[in-house]
């Protein structure tokens, strides 16, 4: 029985050490590896930290899309309470279009423009990212069923 007890102790110690290590990894990752969601209004109010990744959601302003000759794109996102100019080097998703609600992930630059690494406009033309819907509701620009009419 002594052997079995010792055996069990080793397992328990090993398991605890592992769980501890995993918890440490998770906690460190939570510090800087998760991206918060912000709205254009948050950026306009100047409360957004620079130099770390976050997600920005809003509607693409009509007529704001500019394609440069090097293949990069710039456009403006709005939630009605603030506007942010977004720069993106890459091919926009198929469902990216003016007036569409989209989410961009990236960083805020010193000049106040947002450099996106990833632009998400997913799935179908009636889809509104829930974060964008929330941001619009908060700024009072939400129209019930608006996403269906577009």
């Amino acid at each position: 029985m002594g052997l079995r007890k010792r055996q069990r102790m080793i397992v328990v110690v090993l398991a605890l050490a592992l769980v501890g290590a995993a918890a440490a990894l998770v906690l460190t990752a939570m510090q800087d590896k998760i991206a918060f969601f912000v709205s254009p209004a948050d950026i306009a109010s100047g409360t957004v930290e620079r130099g770390r990744d976050f997600r920005l959601g809003g509607l693409v302003v009509e007529g704001s899309i500019e394609r440069a000759s090097d293949g990069s794109v710039a456009f403006t996102l709005t939630d009605g309470a603030g506007d942010v100019r977004v720069l993106y080097a890459g091919i926009l998703p198929d469902l990216f279009r003016e007036g569409q609600g989209i989410v961009a992930q990236g960083r805020l630059e010193e000049d106040g423009r947002f450099r996106a690494r990833e632009v998400l406009a997913k799935h179908d033309e009636t889809y509104m990212p829930p974060e964008v819907a929330d941001a619009l509701k908060r700024s009072g620009h939400w129209q019930e069923g608006a996403e269906k009419l577009r």
Binding site: L3, R4, Q7, I10, V11, L14, A15, L18, V19, A21, A22, L25, V26, T28, A29, M30, K33, I34, A35, F36, F37, D53, R55, R67, A68, S69, D70, G71, S72, V73, A89, G90, I91, L92, D94, L95, Q105, K122, H123, D124, E125, Y127, P129, P130, E131, D134
Partner: protein
Amino acid sequence: MIAELGHFTLVLAMVVAFLQGTLPLWGAARRQAPLVELAPAAALLQFTLVTLAFLALLNAHLASDFSLAIVYQNSHSTKPLLYKFSGVWGNHEGSLVLWVWILALFGAAVALFGRNLPRPFKARVLAVQGLIGLGFLAFSLFTSNPFARLDPAPLDGLGLNPILQDPGLAFHPPMLYLGYVGFSTAYSFAMAALIEGRVDAGWARWVRPWTLAAWMALTLGIALGSWWAYYTLGWGGFWFWDPVENASFMPWLAGTALLHSAIVVEKRDTLKSWTILLAILTFSLALLGTFLVRSGVLTSVHAFATDPSRGVFVLALLGIAVGGSLALYAWRAPALQGGGAFAPVSREGALLLNNLLLATATATVLLGTLYPLLLDGLGGPKISVGPPFFNATFLPLMVPLLVALPAGSMIAWKRGDLPGVLSRLGLAAAGTVAVLLAAALLADTRSTLGLMGFAAGAWVLLGSLNELAVRAGFFQVHPARAWRRLKGLPRSAFSMSLAHMGLGVLILGITATATGQTERILAMRPGETVALAGYEVTLASVEQVQGPNYAARRGTFAVQRNGAPVTTVHSEKRFFPVESMPVTKPGIHSTLLRDLYFVLGDPNSDGAWAVRLYHNPLVFWMWGGAGLMGLAGLVSLTDRRLRVGAPVPARGSRAATA
């Protein structure tokens, strides 16, 4: 009329599932033979009924019967035949019917092939399968009726989301479901064992082929999904740590742990209650995946419809299945007697380490997947947990697992000789160092993570080859004799090595693609040539073409290497008028060593086209590695020792490890 018959058979199947889930349990407890005998018959009848319902649904799709709501919403008369076929499960209601059908299929398979199971035990297994079936049939009939009619019947349908109109996606869901639902058998076996309070080597031998079959299907299902994402989503990635992907990955991790711990139960009669817990957790994670994907909690390609009542229903099912089984576990598991003792350094110890690491890794993935949902549900800030989080938590946990793997698969049972094992792995170690040096010198990238990945992949791959060679005795006896011995090894020995080799190949592929990708994003005019990782790529032309149910703009890229033509690749932007949706089709040219991956984007105002050009090294190795792992499962399933009730021969490896 046929649809009504289908609806009727589905209702009948639910009644049969109720009987299957209750009477045999009662009969087994009261030793009433007729009720015990009822279970296999009920399972076969349930399978027949659900098959009829499935065929009725298939008929409606193939015949484009738009009076059926789901056909109207997801089909169109111009849709190609393959997608009318796969359209059956390309929507919420239909995919649920597929789910139930596969569940019934596994029930019928246990009824047919489980001839050597003790009758009361088999009755209990089938009863638990029946109860799961009851829950999901009720879900289907009460919240997601696939046979709901429209009146008046529309003239034509709305079409299927074009992104789903793809051959890879036609087979991804059935494969994935075979895996998800296949773990229900492990769950049912665990529940039956808890009810009887007895787990022994025989139990492990019965449960293993079912777990193996499910694991194999899930492996291939995930690989198919990843492959689809790679060649359709157009940004050259293959895995995004998206919650929906995690939903399928978590049962895979837990199922992998289960496969390994079941071996310990079979060979050494220990780790029993842990194995039972893993069987419960694996299927619970599969159910959680179904909940996440089906409830509309997550927004993704998979969330077809967001109807809150459905989410509540699946959550209730999840609560009953998980809560009930864990309660039964808490009550009965202490009665399970542990088996033989073992030293920490032993095969048992190695498999236990494997289990601890896989379980911890599953927990971190679970945390990363659920945390944003919980935070949002509690009114906290909205966050997104993406690849950086999982790279920082999941990958470090895989390091010790991969380092220990080759030694763990060679070490002896009960008490192992670690220095001895390591000395026999010298060849693999030397090979790994060589690969590491080659990667440091040759590869485009010198990131630490990349080098670690190459080393880990090479160590696992070469270590598995080394293990097989040692087992056959290539370093001790004459090669001809060792060759004969290799051919005489049991298939399960080969399958283990093959699966581990597949993992090594997979890791090499993932590392090369993730760290060695060359990406060029630019605007090109027709006729213009640019360089990409040693190739010269010319945008030859952009023209309009017409597909069966879409119109497309097709870019043709001519590829040369040092002036010699290599290939021509087409990338299309397709527009589907019925669904009024555009879809990008990347153009891909694959070889064993690299993929060229081109995407044609939108035109600029000055006549140039936005294009994305990728050179992805060793992509094929990812699919090949996953394929090897699937093949390993198949090889193991054909091992005669795994057949239920087959006589157990002496372990073939004894000669080599002694």
